[in-house]
Symmetry: C2
Subunit: 355 residues, 2 copies
């Protein structure tokens, strides 16, 4: 494949290539009447459903490092993190608008790789890529995705409906994305050190990352838990509150408690942490529980549900009960292995602007 720089095909040439790469996402959403190519996308909303919308901006060197991130994975992740927010409302995604600001020096094939990942993920989730914007950038790749979903008013789930006594549940396992990130950062450092010292960076010094495949996949290619939302819809379950875990369990549980005006008590030994994540933590002399509490980017769903309603999903082995909502005066606490209560406010999640 010959090298083509973006200026060779121009802005409109680039848009044409993008439009043809995402065309395969359109048949899944017949209510999308116009996609890329006009001033706006046109959608016929359902008369019975509420509409939910979310947006995430991903910046190079802040959210991703192109040295360790394949562009197809990055495209998929940009879609998944938005689907995860849609799922956190108990809604299903319908369409997305994708904007990129990209250095003019990027080869066209790299942009195409990105959109292959975007299209692939969109098809997996059943949503259409309806439009977007392309711009040059003086400073690295920036991806901004906005997504629209739909949900019936009886099922929509906010952060604010939890009651004391509700069970606190989490899907999947936590801490894996942080483990993957630490491994990728270690590998990058080894590589850069070898380059700096003019030492050969050969197969013998490269870790066999296959061993850590699961954790690295959770970092580079997280998947939103749309099948949990489908399960809720099938059983007509409206959790009392829900959020997706993007900042870490500690921070996101505190969000639910603040919005619902409750406290919470969760138990360390009920927090689902994959054995592989614990092994990586041991190897890196780090702490898997800290990763689960503050690492973020796991994109699992954290929700609360009354004990009665929980019975309908109790058999699902991918959902863990980790504690209970309490009255607001009790605060938000983690009960550790030794029965000690730790105030969750002392456990900080990710802050983009913290130093």
């Amino acid at each position: 494949m010959p090298f083509t720089a973006i200026p060779e095909i121009g802005e409109f040439g680039l848009i044409d290539r993008i439009a043809s790469l995402v065309a395969s996402t359109l048949p899944a959403v017949p209510e999308l009447l116009t996609g890329i190519g006009d001033d706006c996308a046109v959608f016929r909303p359902s008369a019975e459903l509420l509409q939910v919308s979310t947006t995430d901006i991903l910046a190079e060197q802040v959210h991703f490092d192109l040295l360790t991130t394949p562009l197809q994975h990055l495209g998929s992740k940009a879609i998944s993190v938005n689907v995860s927010d849609i799922c956190a409302m108990n809604a299903l995604p319908r369409f997305a608008l994708v904007s990129i600001a990209v250095p003019a020096s990027f080869p066209v094939t790299m942009i195409e790789e990105l959109y292959v990942g975007i299209s692939h993920a969109a098809k997996e989730y059943g949503l259409a890529i309806a439009g977007g914007d392309t711009s040059s950038s003086r400073s690295g790749l920036v991806i901004s995705v906005t997504m629209i979903g739909e949900v019936s008013p009886e099922l929509i789930t906010r952060r604010s409906g939890a009651q004391p006594g509700d069970l606190v549940c989490v899907t999947g396992s936590l801490g894996g994305a942080a483990a993957g990130l630490k491994l990728l950062m270690r590998e990058k450092e080894i590589m850069l050190n070898h380059i700096e010292n003019n030492e050969p960076y050969t197969k013998s010094v490269i870790s066999d990352l296959n061993e850590y495949r699961e954790a690295i996949q959770q970092q580079l290619l997280p998947l939103a838990r749309i099948e949990i939302v489908r399960l809720f819809h099938a059983k007509h379950i409206q959790p009392s509150s829900m959020i997706d875990i993007s900042d870490g369990l500690s921070s996101d549980l505190q969000h639910l408690c603040r919005h619902s005006n409750t406290g919470a008590l969760i138990h360390e030994n009920h927090i689902p942490i994959h054995a592989g994540t614990r092994r990586i933590a041991d190897e890196l002399q780090d702490d898997a529980l800290t990763w689960a509490l503050t690492g973020g980017e796991d994109y699992q769903l954290l929700f609360t549900i009354s004990k009665e309603r929980y019975q309908a999903i109790a058999e699902n082995r991918g959902i863990s009960v980790i504690g209970e909502m309490t009255d607001p005066e009790s605060g938000v606490h983690l009960c550790d292995m030794y029965g000690m209560k730790i105030d969750m406010e002392s456990i900080k999640g990710f802050d983009h602007f913290s130093s």
Copy 2:
């Protein structure tokens, strides 16, 4: 007012400030059931209307230069350019999601200035700021706005409906935004030269920009032509095709012709150019017609309409008829002052990636 850097108040502190600045935009849109503060915004769409959506990404040093752009104006412009796309579908804006990626070194007051401009513009257009995302940036300010609008199926206007014989109309006047940009770039160069040469940059060397107020305002603070859409709705007019002029008349007219499968013939002496724009062009030894054809960023509406329907708006002095759509074989031409036909394909509009 004391200086506060973003890390002092943290990401959630920043989001709280933004939420309070945009709260005044919410009452105009009662169908927005949840704004900033949950995983998604929640909107109850109209059962009778179609929904249109658009997005624009603005990057520092590409779309704006903070040396010459007040942040309130930048915030307003980020909203207006999206409203302009909504208007180009003959739709009215309902709500927007606003994302920013911002260097952690930015003072909080600068972000507040930006959102004062965003809120002010949103209120002028009657739309709500429903959500967004905040991130740090390693490399300059990036603003991404996505906007949702509504329009009845009988009035929605695409690029593709024009017929040979339809009149080609444009609102307002063209070339002013390009004139304003050239002036601002001249002033910036004068300023930087004085600084480089250690010469005092005093009042005597600063041009009296008041003289050029109109052109500079068209560049820094363009306004979308929402009142034209309101006029169309009041008279129940659906133009046969429409686009907003963001790339320049030449490029945007060719878009209409390509999508509608027509040609067009427009007349130089009918293109509305403000006398002030011509004066600035003379002063800068530049060409006002070139600015009108290729300068872009005027955010006027370019539309086509049958001669019969045009009668209903013929009295509006803010709409100029500049030519007629023709059959596709005739191509897209400009007839100049001397009656010479110039192929519009030879007149290029703005391309983000052209060198």
